[in-house]
């Protein structure tokens, strides 16, 4: 494998799978009950309404059934998970203040360097609480707020209270309820009217303890005419016990605003990744989800956009990679609830070594959403005979005057393509890599440079040993 990639960026520093010794000030016990939920709220010194919200959500969690569709979730043991770990007493103000161990972990992930180059602000989640946060001064002047959600709750309680749980209520599904009860960390982003944040906001985080459920909660509010691109990347070290990641992301995109949310995930292969991501888009607003799913044992994640007013637009691009024992079940949902709304869904999945990847999606058009358009495209690439791909597109169209297209392809890496590349001196494994990279290129080219590089690198890692 090359040590530098085609762009000349050193990829050796992107080494995953290492871990640091656990050294926590406080560690909650395993399992969950109302007492633990109340304690989390108390430890954080939260206002009463949030404690009530959490306890209410816990009730909903108990009442909600497990999903009976999608991937097999029967092996999750809710009693064998830590729901809250507090790594340091208060968020650090600067890089230097971080504990040595955490710094080392982030050094290996290349955070400070990345920041120097590209990042405008970093919210890095280590365990359950954001410990490092930095926002460029000019944005503060513009009134942009980029904080971990716990800090936002303390510093901007009214703003948080106005929007929290309005897009994804606790009753939405069992895992949204769980998150609502025990959430910790995540990002809070507020972009005032007319402000365009031209450099992506990035949060880089990873799970680093056994059986730690990560329940981060992200809330993004784009006031009219604003623009923001939020990027999250996750990598997890390899552990043998099962982990649960269940996040909730809520986004409000107001009139004429545009929000892009990019995720590149590489959970270790024992992680259950069950995430509820939803945005509401108002008049002429645009919401874009870009979602790269690598790693994890099971991923169920269907970023959604509710287009509530005329002219709203949605775009959902996703990549999933399933290796041995993995079952990503990604997809997307677009809800056309107003006339002249537009949506595009592009899904690319790759499966190998008996992995199972697919697409599950919903296009819903309400009566009266005249002149709306939706285009769905799902491409699956299957690398060997043992692997499979499933596509479950659902269309609920209750309006005549609309244009809907759906295209699905399933392909195998063709011998002709491999032969062509090899006839130019390229080795078989590299040829296979090139074909796979080409397959996901339509998504990768939408990513910020660093993340494009990283996704290609992660795919190369996943592909190792796939040519026997």
């Amino acid at each position: 494998m090359a040590t530098t990639n085609q762009l000349g960026i050193d990829v050796e520093k992107y080494k995953y799978g290492f871990f640091e010794p656990e050294n926590y000030i406080y560690k909650a016990r395993k399992g969950l009950n109302a007492e633990v939920v109340a304690m989390i709220s108390q430890m954080k010194g939260e206002p009463d309404w949030m404690r009530a919200f959490r306890l209410h959500a816990y009730e909903a969690f108990l009442a909600k059934p497990m999903p009976t569709w999608g991937a097999d979730l029967s092996t999750i043991n809710f009693d064998d998970i830590y729901y809250y770990i507090k790594p340091t007493e208060k968020p650090a103000e600067s890089w230097e203040e971080l504990p040595e161990e955490i710094k080392r972990t982030y050094d290996r992930l290349g955070i400070p360097e990345a920041e120097r180059k590209f990042l405008a602000g970093v919210g890095a989640q280590y365990e359950s609480e954001v410990v490092y946060h930095n926002l460029k001064e000019e944005w503060e002047r513009l009134g942009v707020i980029f904080l971990d959600t716990d800090s936002a709750l303390r510093e901007h309680p009214d703003l948080v209270r106005e929007y929290f749980g309005t897009v994804v209520p606790p009753e939405d599904n069992k895992f949204a309820a769980l998150n609502s009860a025990v959430w910790s960390g995540g990002s809070f982003v507020y972009v005032p009217a007319g402000v365009k944040v031209d450099i992506p906001l990035q949060a880089y985080f990873r799970i680093n303890a056994r059986n730690v459920g990560q329940f981060e909660r992200t809330l993004i509010i784009c006031e009219p005419g604003s623009y923001v691109h939020y990027v999250e990347g996750c990598t997890a070290p390899v552990y043998t016990t099962d982990s649960l990641h269940s996040a909730v992301v809520e986004i409000i995109v107001k009139e004429g605003a545009r929000c892009r949310y990019t995720t590149i995930q590489n959970w270790s292969t024992n992680v259950y990744n069950l995430v509820t991501k939803r945005a509401v888009a108002y008049r002429d607003a645009t919401m874009e989800w870009i979602d790269g799913n690598l790693g994890s044992k099971i991923t169920m994640k269907y970023p959604s956009v509710y287009m509530l007013e005329p002219g709203a637009r949605a775009e959902i691009l996703s990549v999933a990679f399933a290796g041995a024992g993995q079952h990503p079940d990604p997809g997307g949902k677009v809800i056309h609830a107003a006339p002249h709304t537009q949506s595009v869904i592009v899904s690319k999945s790759i499966s190998k070594d008996g992995g199972r990847a697919g697409y599950r999606g919903l296009v819903k058009i309400y009566p009266g959403a005249k002149g709306s358009r939706s285009a769905v495209r799902c491409d699956a690439l299957i690398l060997d005979e043992r692997s499979r791909s499933d596509t479950y597109p659902t269309m609920e169209i209750d309006e005549e005057d609309v244009s809907i297209t759906h295209e699905a392809t399933v392909s195998k890496v063709s011998d002709e393509q491999l032969f062509y590349l090899m006839s130019r001196g390229i080795k078989e494994d590299e040829a296979m890599n090139m074909i796979v990279r080409g397959f996901v290129e339509p998504i990768v080219k939408e990513l910020p440079l660093e993340y494009a590089v990283e996704l290609n690198r992660l795919i190369a890692l996943e592909m190792e040993g796939s040519v026997g």
């Binding site: 494998m1 090359a2 040590t3 530098t4 085609q6 000349g8 063709s414 011998d415 002709e416 393509q417 032969f419 062509y420 590349l421 090899m422 006839s423 130019r424 001196g425 390229i426 080795k427 078989e428 590299e430 040829a431 090139m434 074909i435 990279r437 080409g438 397959f439 996901v440 290129e441 339509p442």
Partner: protein
């Protein structure tokens, strides 16, 4: 021993035998032309030499610089200097020409852990594209995707120029090209040939003698029904241009009938026929 030596090569696809004992020797510094009607096995020969897994070699051998070519995977053949300009190049969606070409050139030049330095590669690429009059914008497009017939053929010759082969096979590079393009491509090939100073041998596979006015072969071979039926000098190409393949075919049928009857090696006119 010749640099490329094909002996009694017999090849089938599924149950159909396509090459029926082909023999040919090519040296670096030589230009050979291989002609013959559609379906005579010309492209099969080219693909088998490059290692296309679609074809099964059932008998015979191919020695490349004294080594067993058929035992090597295609990438090894290419790195050792064998090249084919395909008749129907496949497209690789999402992979840019620039990335593909740099990876290929790096492999051919023996870079193992990393790629050839960007600056050096781009200078090389720019020079070759100018020589072949290829639009620079081609490098940002995906490999062969949406290329016109002519663009595909030129892109193949661009690869040939970049990879600097020792033995190059051009499989009907002229088909689908207008006469101006044939000239540009041929001039480019001749420049490579001359620059190599005897270091490059070429096998030009073609239906028509048109391209042979620009790439002048010293040896012309005609293939018919999976066998080389006649070999000669450049005048053979002229003859074919006048008489077409019908003349050859008529002679071939006479001889084939006699051979079937007598089971012997026969020769009549320019056609010969060897029974194995």
């Amino acid at each position: 021993m010749a640099d490329l030596e094909i002996k009694d090569l017999t090849v089938q696809v599924e149950d159909r035998v396509i090459l029926k004992g082909a023999n040919l020797a090519i040296n670096k510094g030589e230009i050979h032309a291989l002609m013959g009607p559609n379906g005579s096995g010309k492209s099969t020969l080219a693909n088998v030499l490059m290692g296309n897994p679609f074809y099964q070699v059932v008998r015979g051998e191919v020695l490349y610089k004294g080594e067993d070519l058929l035992a090597m995977p295609p990438d090894e053949r290419a790195r050792k200097g064998l090249f084919i300009a395909f008749q129907y190049p496949v497209s690789i969606p999402g992979v840019t020409m620039a990335s593909f070409l740099r990876t290929a050139v790096s492999a051919r030049r023996g870079y193992d852990k990393e790629l050839m330095p960007v600056g050096e590669f781009q200078r090389l690429l720019r020079q070759k594209m100018e020589e072949l009059r290829i639009e620079p914008s081609i490098v940002t497009r995906y490999v062969n995707e949406g290329f016109s017939g002519g663009e595909k053929k030129r892109a193949e010759i661009l690869q040939m120029a970049l990879l600097e082969p020792e033995i190059a096979i051009m499989d009907e590079t002229d088909s689908g090209l207008d006469i101006d393009s044939v000239k540009i491509v041929s001039d480019g090939v001749m420049r490579m040939y001359e620059a190599a100073q005897g270091g490059m041998g070429i096998l030009v596979i073609t239906h028509y003698s048109r391209i042979l006015h620009f790439i002048k072969p010293s040896f012309v071979h005609v293939m018919f029904d999976g066998r080389f039926v006649v070999s000669g000098g450049p005048e053979l190409a002229e003859e074919l241009e006048q008489a077409g393949y019908e003349g050859i075919k008529a002679q071939f049928e006479v001889i084939a009938a006699e051979v079937a009857h007598e089971g012997a090696v026969r020769r009549a006119g320019k056609v010969f026929w060897v029974v194995h």
